[in-house]
Symmetry: C2
Subunit: 129 residues, 2 copies
Amino acid sequence: MYTLSKNQQIIFDIIDKSPEPMKAYSILFNVQKKGIKAPLQVYRALDKLVEIGKIHKIESRNAFIACQNSSCQVSKATAFSICESCEKVTEINNSSLSKYLSNFKDKAGMKYSKYNLEFFGLCKKCTTK
Amino acid sequence: MYTLSKNQQIIFDIIDKSPEPMKAYSILFNVQKKGIKAPLQVYRALDKLVEIGKIHKIESRNAFIACQNSSCQVSKATAFSICESCEKVTEINNSSLSKYLSNFKDKAGMKYSKYNLEFFGLCKKCTTK
DNA sequence: AATTTAAATGTTATAATATAACACTATGTA
DNA sequence: TACATAGTGTTATATTATAACATTTAAATT
Ligand SMILES: [Zn+2]
Ligand SMILES: [Zn+2]
Ligand SMILES: [Zn+2]
Ligand SMILES: [Zn+2]
């Protein structure tokens, strides 16, 4: 089990507490009181946290969310649902889906080592509005 | 059938001819001889081309590729394979996959209107190197 | 054909996201 | 201790994307 460094811990904590995905510069703003002053300090921590699977990047939003499973086999297989109205993002944990995608092979015979899936739609709340 | 405007056509053509995904500022550089001088002219055309499904954005790469199917039901269901070594990107056209994903429902009962899937790995060429 | 409306264009400026380069510090381990 | 590896701090800069506004073109309606 990996021990987070000081900056990594600070930045993980703020993402983990956030109810929604956080953007890098919003993270930066929020950790300035803790002595983290430069974008690069944030991006370096983000890179590491993504690498070890503690957080995921929501690519379509350039934002980061704490892993809601158990560090997702170190981020090799991720799936999210994204509400296009309220921007709520939920990590999908569905073994049928992950099995299907992990075993998927395309015609070109390419073997995949990783995937990222983003579903878009309206969440329950936003549907009934 | 939608008729492309002048800028849309210029920008679609250059993406369509490219063997690899193109980034916005690389597109800009390449169309400056045709009178398109500003980023915004490129981004506006890209937005429209994505909207009508003529091109797709590869989110993990901030790059754009011409649709290799038939405008993908106006971009509602996209899947790509990406080689992490040579960066070759191929659009996946697999009816089993698209059926599976289009019918997927999560536990929260959210109904999805769109998805984007990116697989990562090594292409055949890069595997045998 | 003239009028109205919507879509697209041109332009300048600026916002938001991300990395390069370099000096230094902490931590683990031989 | 000596060495290697990972993390930090800092300044500067690169890359990606949008705001705002004036104008033009194309399409639809009268
Ligand atoms: Zn996860
Ligand atoms: Zn919602
Ligand atoms: Zn397509
Ligand atoms: Zn390759």
